[in-house]
């Protein structure tokens, strides 16, 4: 093999090394590089140099930091492009909660994820059609529009089994939420203000309740 041919082969191998390192080389080119690495003492040094380029290029790219609010700005641009989200017919409560989760700002999304996980556990306890073993999770939109409700935040360490048992035992329903802060809207089947106040007191007294706020009271609730 002449010196010119040797250099030509070296040039070819040097050209292929970046693709050998990124794992995209295949077939005869991969075999050629592997054979060169195994047979030429200069090849391993060349591989080391290419690895240094690999590190340098990665470092140069990683030093560029995309803006932290890129996703939330993109979400707004997408809404402007695609229009308001249509509520899918018959979409599940969980799907709606997921859609709400995906719409929250990036900064709070992960905090909300923990609450969403809890919601998944609640959802897993109910049967298709909205009826659970122990409690009803939601009614028709008309029912929900009229229903008295309270705003409730559960403690982070609350057990879902405790919550579900309590909700089911008292005819309570989760009818909305969670918000970005983890607040659920809890339907309260109270016929009057006194009953509503009593039930809110009962919810607040539970060890898993962190915050309970009044929402819509019954018609005579003043």
């Amino acid at each position: 093999m002449s010196a010119a041919e040797k250099m030509s082969r070296r040039d070819e191998m040097e050209t292929l090394l970046p693709f050998y390192l990124n794992g995209s080389l295949e077939g005869s080119e991969l075999e050629a590089v592997e054979e060169w690495l195994a047979s030429d003492p200069a090849a391993l040094a060349a591989l080391g140099e290419a690895e240094a380029e690999f590190s340098g290029t990665s470092a140069a790219n990683e030093a560029i930091r995309p803006p932290a609010d890129a996703l939330s700005r993109f979400a707004k641009a997408l809404e402007a492009e695609a229009g308001p989200v249509r509520k899918p017919a018959g979409s599940s409560f969980l799907a709606q909660a997921w859609a709400r989760f995906m719409a929250v700002p990036v900064g709070v999304a992960w905090a909300a994820a923990a609450v969403l996980l809890a919601l998944v556990m609640v959802q897993s306890l109910v049967q298709p059609g909205g009826k659970g073993k122990d409690f009803e999770i939601a009614g028709t939109e008309d029912d929900l529009a009229k229903m008295p409700f309270a705003l409730v935040k559960f403690k982070p360490d609350a057990k879902m089994s405790d919550i579900s048992a309590f909700l089911g035992g008292n005819g309570l329903k989760i009818i909305g939420g969670p918000t970005a802060d983890g607040v659920f809207r809890l339907g309260v089947p109270a016929a009057n203000a006194a009953d509503y106040a009593k039930q809110l007191g009962l919810i607040a007294a539970q060890p898993f309740s962190e915050t309970v706020m009044e929402g819509r009271k019954p018609a005579d609730g003043g």
Binding site: R10, D11, E14, S24, E53, T57, A60, N61, F74
Partner: protein, 188 residues
């Protein structure tokens, strides 16, 4: 084909059906790389921000026509490349040159002297950044974006042979620049 790639394609299928959560997931997965690719292409993070956003809106618009002939990442980089070139042609604004100029060390030291003061890794990184755009781009696409020769050809819309030629000259120039800076690596 990796599982991750299949998932990308499945997400594009969902986007094609109007699933906004899917396009957000793809955004989270690929945005940083697209952003960095454009920033390196244009030298402007402001342009990278605008273009990266546009790339994912384009994904939303074009998803129904995506035939899966290339990887999703390659497709996105191709869109980014096209948009970056279009914008650069359209704008030709001075601030791009200003940003590039700001990145160059002042005239007190020649590039060789600056390089001598650095360690080899820092010198290498600076010399990669100083490569002509067409050479730096193939370096970025191979080393950082993990693209194959064929995929780089798709992103840049050039023949495979041209990809190899550019890679050869990119690495040759790097070797020569390093040698001039006192780091002879034995090739070229």
């Amino acid at each position: 084909m990796t599982a991750a790639t299949e998932t990308d394609r499945a997400l594009v299928d969902r986007v094609a059906k109007g699933d906004r959560a899917a396009v957000r997931l793809l955004f989270m997965r690929h945005h940083a790389r697209v952003y960095r690719f454009v920033a390196r292409q244009t030298g402007s993070e402001m342009m990278a921000d605008d273009i990266a956003n546009e790339v994912f809106l384009e994904l939303w618009r074009q998803a129904p026509g995506f035939e899966g002939r290339s990887e999703v990442s390659t497709w996105l980089l191709g869109i980014a490349r096209f948009k970056a070139l279009s914008l650069l042609r359209k704008k030709k604004e001075d601030w791009i040159d200003d940003e590039a100029a700001a990145a160059v060390p002042d005239g007190a030291d020649t590039p060789e002297v600056v390089t001598m003061k650095e360690d080899k890794a820092a010198a290498l990184r600076r010399l990669i950044d100083a490569l002509p755009e067409e050479h730096r781009t193939v370096i970025d696409l191979a080393y950082y974006q993990g693209q194959s020769v064929t995929e780089i050809g798709e992103v840049l819309d050039i023949p495979v042979a041209t990809v190899k030629t550019r890679m050869f000259y990119a690495r040759k120039k790097l070797g020569e620049a390093l040698k001039a800076a006192g780091y002879d690596r034995g090739w070229p």
